[in-house]
């Protein structure tokens, strides 16, 4: 096991806040329209690319995306050269040099996404004891999925008077218990889009959640496409088989 045990107290405190342990009071899920929702829905690639920009500029400062590799970005429509350029701009550990010392170098498309912190302890130390969760699966890992993440990103409001806040915590109307360790990450105009899309909070949140939904379910589009064909085939086969059955059984009384 990782050296977690020494951190018991800190984890316990964070756990209380991070886990959906406390009953979710009041706030219902904000139901949003997502490009990938419906039966035939696919990812809006332009939104996913803008979302990648939001992730890189904002989220990546604290949140890892450890199950993704740079090569995976072809899934949101980036081409080989763009991916190489994105990877090359990142410095990652590259094993040992000839003298046996750890060395760093520019990443290649085959590298995992760089994590902002070397380890969990470093992450907690930099974040007031809280651990920013890895975002690779965050959309699948929360009840409510994309809508819930949208609720968090747009849920930062002033605490109601009389609400007792702990030090270093922020009020969020969506978060269970309403006290979250993350300061409001996105506001109107946080990210400057190159394609001229309006950069209000709603747009930024939609974009980054589209990106994260892709990150959690990169197979989604292929899965649905195969699914349509498989089900059509099976319905067709069921029909034919049933006709054969009727024919065969027609002499049984």
């Amino acid at each position: 096991m990782r050296p977690l045990r020494s951190l018991l107290a800190g984890v316990f405190a964070a756990g209380l806040l991070a886990a959906p342990a406390l009953a979710q009071e009041g706030e219902s899920l904000p139901h949003q329209k997502w490009s990938f929702d419906s039966l035939f829905g696919t990812f809006d690639l332009a939104a996913a690319q803008r979302g990648f920009q939001v992730y890189s500029n904002v989220c990546a400062n604290c949140h890892s995306l450890q199950y993704l590799h740079y090569r995976d970005l072809s899934g949101i429509g980036l081409d080989g050269d763009e991916i190489k350029a994105i990877a090359a701009a990142v410095t990652v550990p590259q094993g040992l040099d000839d003298q046996g010392n750890p060395k760093d170098g520019p990443a290649t498309p085959a590298n995992q996404f760089r994590s902002p912190f070397a380890n969990e302890k470093a992450a907690r130390a930099a974040n007031n004891g809280a651990l920013p969760p890895d975002l690779s699966l965050i959309v699948n890992a929360r009840e409510g999925g994309a809508d819930y993440i949208y609720g968090i990103l747009t849920g930062f409001v002033p605490a109601p008077s009389g609400f007792k806040m702990q030090d270093g915590m922020y009020y969020n109307k969506m978060f269970p218990g309403h006290q979250i360790g993350m300061p409001q990450p996105l506001q109107d105009g946080t990210v400057e889009y190159t394609d001229g899309t309006s950069n209000n909070l709603d747009q930024e949140a939609h974009d980054v959640i589209t990106f994260l939904s892709w990150a959690a379910n990169p197979e989604l589009v292929e899965r649905k496409q195969i699914g349509v064909r498989v089900i059509l085939f099976l319905v067709f086969m069921a029909g034919i088989t049933y006709a054969v059955k009727r024919k065969l059984w027609s002499d049984v009384h």
Binding site: M1, F12, L137, I226, M237, T241, K245, W249, V252
Partner: protein, 424 residues
């Protein structure tokens, strides 16, 4: 018994093999011309469906195991590796994950079929008992499989369920240590669960073979629940039931595909997308849907040992079902009261399932207690007593003459014959 088999196959290669090892003759006898009651409805598809489902699970499982790492540090990441990097790994994994749910759906319907049409009664008691063994093995396999991805619910589910054994006096804690391979759910637990999860399906194959062998001795029950009397009552298994099973298989695969391709995580728990963390308990530890009724029975009893006994008892009672049901009429079709009460039992099981998904508070405690009570009442009181009191409807003369003429030639109510099946 030594001596070559006299094979009737024309093909020289098949004939050569069949003379020395008559597997073709056996297949021809058991699946070709095998006399099968001609009045099956589509509920008789579900045994074949379960067989297909087991095959799917074993095949996808073998390929998953090639890419999975049974180590607490690596397990969660290796599942993500399967989902993202292995060619069609996501398909293998989603088929296997949802295949478990489909397996239970199919098996529960198969069991219900047996209960509704009295398939467990003389002479099929042993066939039924083997079926209950299969159910229990399946549950153990599914439970251990759910632990393997090493998410939060895997870890905490394993902790809660293995801890149940600690309720037994004296040996309890020892059993738990043995299950864990240590003093908490940890790497040794994951290793042994992986090993057993790979082993048990093959044990299942063995018990299913016995289940089918026993079936082919007694012959199938049928919706009328009466014995086969003459060759007019039966059809050769092939092509009549191979084609009827094929219809069912297509429909079943379509439902399966809808789940896999369009809602692969619908039946799962979001918490299992969070890596296992021994220091952080999820708000609700909920088992997979197919265990919810048993979980509700467990939690409906305030005493831990009694709760555990009731939970295991809810399965063990099925072993003696053939002797608890005193009615000699098999099919619910001819048992006007049982026909209603069996549905009440189904409702009780569904209520238990819903209760299992909710925290044991307020109304859910009361509901789960009432449903638990009825579950056991059905088996332990209603079935033994009902068999004596109920006046069954007149049974038809034979399968090929299901409608009684005005002459009322059927056996008298209450004296329905339960003769061993005559060879058709």
């Amino acid at each position: 018994m030594a001596g070559l088999h006299k094979s009737e196959f024309a093909n020289p290669v098949i004939n050569w093999i069949d003379t020395r090892l008559p597997i073709f003759t056996m297949m021809q006898k058991e699946y070709g011309v095998f006399p099968t009651p001609k009045n099956f409805n589509y509920l008789w598809n579900f045994g074949a469906l379960a067989m297909v489902n087991l095959m799917i699970m074993i095949i996808t499982g073998i390929f998953l195991a090639m890419n999975y790492q049974p180590n607490t540090e690596l397990a969660f990441g290796s599942v993500q590796h399967i989902m993202r990097d292995v060619n069609y790994g996501w398909l293998l994994r989603y088929v296997h994950q949802n295949g478990a749910s489909m397996f239970f759906i199919v098996t529960y319907i198969h069991i219900f079929r047996g209960m509704y049409y009295g398939s467990y009664k003389n002479p099929r008691e042993l066939l039924w008992i083997l079926g209950v063994v299969i159910l229990i093995l399946m549950m153990a396999t599914a439970f251990m499989g759910y632990v393997l991805p090493w998410g939060q619910m895997s870890y905490w589910g394993a902790t809660v369920i293995t801890n149940l054994f600690s309720a037994f006096p004296i040996v309890g804690p020892k059993i738990v240590t043995l299950l864990w391979g240590g003093f908490s759910v940890d790497n040794p637990t994951l290793n042994r669960f992986f090993s057993l999860h790979y082993l048990l399906p093959f044990v299942l194959v063995g018990v299913i073979f016995l289940h089918v062998a026993a079936l082919h001795i007694t012959g199938s029950n049928n919706p009328l629940g009466i014995d086969v009397k003459s060759p007019q009552d039966t059809l050769p298994f092939h092509p009549y039931y191979t084609v009827k099973d094929s219809v069912g298989i297509c429909v079943y695969l379509a439902v399966f595909a809808a789940l896999v391709f369009f809602a692969p995580n619908y039946l799962g728990d979001p918490n299992n997308f969070i890596p296992a963390n021994p220091l952080q308990t999820p708000a609700d530890i909920v088992p997979e849907w197919y265990f919810l009724p048993y979980y509700a029975i467990l939690r409906s009893v305030p005493n831990k040992l009694l709760g555990v006994c009731m939970m295991f008892g809810s399965l063990l009672v099925l072993f003696v079902l053939p002797w608890l049901d005193t009615s000699r009429v098999r099919s619910a079709r001819f048992r006007p009261i049982y026909r209603q009460l069996i549905w009440l039992w189904v409702v009780a099981v569904i209520v238990l399932g819903v209760c299992g998904a909710h925290k044991p508070e307020g109304i859910w405690v009361i509901l789960s207690r009432v449903a638990t009570l009825y579950y056991f009442l059905h088996f332990l009181v209603i079935l033994p007593v009902l068999g004596k009191l109920e006046r069954p409807l007149p049974l038809p003369e034979s399968i090929s003459q299901p409608v009684l003429g005005g002459r009322g030639g059927g056996p008298l109510p209450g004296s329905a014959p339960a003769k061993p099946m005559e060879k058709a």
